[in-house]
Amino acid sequence: MLALEVNHLKKTYKNGVVALKGIDLQVTEGDFFALLGPNGAGKSTLIGIISSLVNASEGETKVFGTSVQKDRSKAMAEIGLVPQEVNFNQFEKPFDIVVNQGGYYGVPRAIARERAEYYLKKLELWDKAFSMSRTLSGGMKRRLLIARAMVHEPRLLILDEPTAGVDIEIRRSIWRFIEEINQAGTTVILTTHYLEEAENLCRNIAIIDHGEIVENTTIKALLSKLDVETFVLDLRQAIETLPVIEGIELVLRDPTTIEASIPKSKSLNRLFRALEEAGIEVSSMRNKVNRLEELFVRLVHADSENVKAGAV
């Protein structure tokens, strides 16, 4: 079954800005789906329309087969939304915020209290459950948004940059939590600027740019499109000249750092053999940028070029 179906969705704001130019998108039940795009690409507008905060100009959005535009209440009952901005009442206590949100979704108060305790504990917020939420740190506020979105146990959880501005430890704990609920059957749609987050967590991906979907595939299939990977090699001793290796491009960034761009068709062994023959010893090696990031930049850059060409 499809958890989300977006059909020819268009949005033009009153000021004339065209945010979405007719998007089609499908997310299957149980998926962990990444929605990526640069700032201003249309991601938040799309999420706004799915969650009924933004009215579509044209097209339809269905959540588990129910049209958001035709039967808003039924569609909304299935969605949990973690927004990009903190939007709870900072003068209320986290426990009350979560319990009340449950009430808005028809969860009886006693059950909402039990769930609030469960999710606040799970997200390591229980010791702050009865403090004023304005006293929470940025990372705690993000986790509170997640607990609030989960209290009615939605079948589709949409997270709009849930880990923006939080430290790596909290980010990892959020990842673990989301993975767990996805494994328990909740469909997850994630937007993020941390591309390693999308690469590590998600199975399918859509990249949106200038209000259009420029890529919609599996993470695996997308990564396989990466024909050249760039590695950074840290050297044990400083060198002045680089060896020439056919088919591999080497750049000396500084006397102890080489950048090697290697096509997928070439073996890494070849690079190391040539370096060894030249008496160069490598102490460590890493990807220059995240692989998905490399593809993302290329796709978005290509799209920008197309837009510019179209405008001319």
Partner: protein, 261 residues
């Protein structure tokens, strides 16, 4: 309706909004419950006890007794209107109104929740002011049903008015303009401190265009048994305003004016 969207789930949603509103009123009691009581006590002392003695009778009764219903009504009007504007606009300003907008609750439940919260505050403050009034003028009750029904209808009507103000407000200044420049003059000229029969013929007719005249007089009838206007006209006008305002509020919420992009 699916299991997640049912009459029961809407009822729970309504109760939750009401609980949240009442919790807010109690949490900030120093802003919501006490100031009107202090203000009205001053009115009773100055206009009732000090100046009132010199005024003598109004509408065939001591001036102190005459102003009691009007002052209670003034409290009910300002508190029901102010509760919705501040609570709803505050939620809009802080963006936590989105908690409700993304929920399955239909607009009429959201509206009922906010209106009920305002009515609760208006009634609590109205009763507190009444207790203060009893200290100065003694407790009187001519018709309990008229009194209660006018109290509730008036608070509902002004809560709806406050809701419209909250929907259109863009900044905090916007929620004080109507109460200061429209509501307060209308209330003061609405027969709180004087009988409209004292006005010259033309101004008497003008004052009858003010709906607050009907509310104050109907309430005065409930407490004291006297009114400048027929009771049925007062009910018709208050109910009429309430129905129209309810329709406007519902339409604004359904279209998402000022709320959805």
């Amino acid at each position: 309706m699916s299991e997640k969207v049912s009459a029961r789930s809407f009822w729970i949603g309504y109760q939750t909004i009401l609980i949240k509103e009442v919790t807010r009123i109690v949490r900030i009691w120093a802003q919501t419950l006490i100031p009107p009581v202090i203000t009205m006590t001053l009115y009773f002392v100055i206009f009732g006890a000090i100046i009132g003695r010199r005024v003598g009778e109004m509408g065939g009764m001591p001036y102190m007794e005459f102003i009691v219903p009007g002052l209670i009504m003034l409290t009910v009007i300002t508190n029901s209107y102010g509760n919705v504007t501040s609570s709803f606009f505050g939620a809009k300003f802080g963006k936590h109104i989105e908690e409700l907008l993304i929920s399955p609750l239909p607009p009429w439940i959201i509206l009922l929740g906010y209106i009920s919260g305002a009515v609760v505050r208006a009634l609590v403050v109205g009763i507190l002011v009444w207790l203060v009034a009893s200290f100065f003028a003694g407790f009187q009750m001519h018709n309990v049903w008229v009194t209660l029904s006018i109290l509730v209808l008036t608070s509902v009507t002004f809560a709806l008015g406050g809701f419209i103000n909250g929907v259109y407000a863009q900044k905090f200044d916007d929620i004080s303009i109507i109460p200061t420049f429209v509501l307060q003059p209308m209330t003061y000229l609405g027969g709180v401190f004087f009988s409209v029969t004292l006005l010259p013929g033309f101004w008497q007719q003008v004052s009858l265009a003010n709906p607050i005249v009907y509310m104050v007089n109907a309430f005065r009838y409930g407490i004291l048994g006297v009114s400048d206007v027929p009771l049925w006209v007062a009910y018709a006008i208050i109910t009429g305003f309430g129905v129209v305002l309810f329709g406007v509020c519902l339409s604004l919420l359904q279209r998402g004016v000022g709320l959805r992009t």
